[in-house]
Amino acid sequence: MCGKCGCSDPTNEVKMVDPATGVETLIRHGGLVQADDHSNGHHHDHDHHHHQPHEGEDKPHVHGPNGEVISLEQAVLSKNDQIAARNRGWFEGRGVLALNLVSSPGSGKTTLLERTIRELKGKRAIYVIEGDQMTSNDAERVRDAGAKALQINTGAGCHLEADMIADAVEQLNPEPGSILMIENVGNLVCPSMFDLGERMKVAVISTTEGEDKPLKYPHMFRAAEVVLINKMDIAEVVEFDEDACRSNIAEVNPRATVLSLSAKTGQNFEPWINKLVEHRQ
């Protein structure tokens, strides 16, 4: 568990639920690292004569300073990145447009998906992978809207990782030329680090969240190619300053395409749909 915020990685069970059949599949078993019985370390034969005590450590040290040094230069996330690259190749080979939807909880990602699915009906097949810690409510909502969907429950996990997408894609089997929407766990921090193999990240921010969110969470907005400002229908009521928000987004990511819309009322929804259709081929 992270000592800063209490968030965790998907180290415990991660499961996948097909809302059409209710079938659950365990895609990651828990217990990679056991909460150890002897975490106090007092079962070990301690040598308490430290010559060079390391900071914050109370462990036996039997090493000498001249052990062989191996240069590694390996990215810590290389495994995730390799699987992501494989996913990306698979998507490109089939002409599947895969989008990684990121936002904080409650920004309206699922409502956005529901309308997107309805508007694209008859134009292009759409598949959805829903990431949440618990419940398959969202997968059921998008399935009701007409898309084939799978739910991934990350348990304690705060983000989706590439291997989960690989498993989900195998089961969903999106047809060539379709769109695959991956709704990440609602979180503006961790998902920015983990490549899933998507064509691009789409960040959703809503008018109720405050104009300075892009400045508060710059990593996520820097990683997104498209930023959608949602809930524009209530912008006036919540005194949302669109210009300020756009200039904050531009400050952290000048290249981002910014579209303001309302997923609930459908206001200004066309540019978003066009953007999706544009990416056809």
């Binding site: 150890d36 040290h61 090493h63 000498g64 040094v69």
Partner: protein
């Protein structure tokens, strides 16, 4: 965030590369845009290295540029 999982990745990568020899020190290279809280990495290091080839190994972190997040090198423990 998620430093526990990241440090677990580090342990598994080093273990794969170390063969079966114990490791005394691991050095990372972390940039300011890597989204990695180095104090949190240090915080869980003892737990994730427990009962592995890295038991008791120290964790060194050097500052790097941009979003660098690498395992720079590791040092074998000198056997007595």
């Amino acid at each position: 965030m998620h430093e526990l999982g990241l440090s677990r990745n580090i342990v598994s990568i080093v273990t794969e590369n170390a063969g079966d020899k114990p490791v005394a020190r691991v050095k990372l290279s972390v940039g300011p845009l890597a989204c990695v809280e180095t104090t949190a990495l240090q915080f869980c290091w003892d737990i994730v290295t427990q009962d592995s080839l890295l038991t008791g190994a120290s964790l060194e972190i050097e500052e790097a540029e941009g979003d660098t997040f690498l395992i720079k090198e590791f040092e074998y423990r000198e056997m007595a």
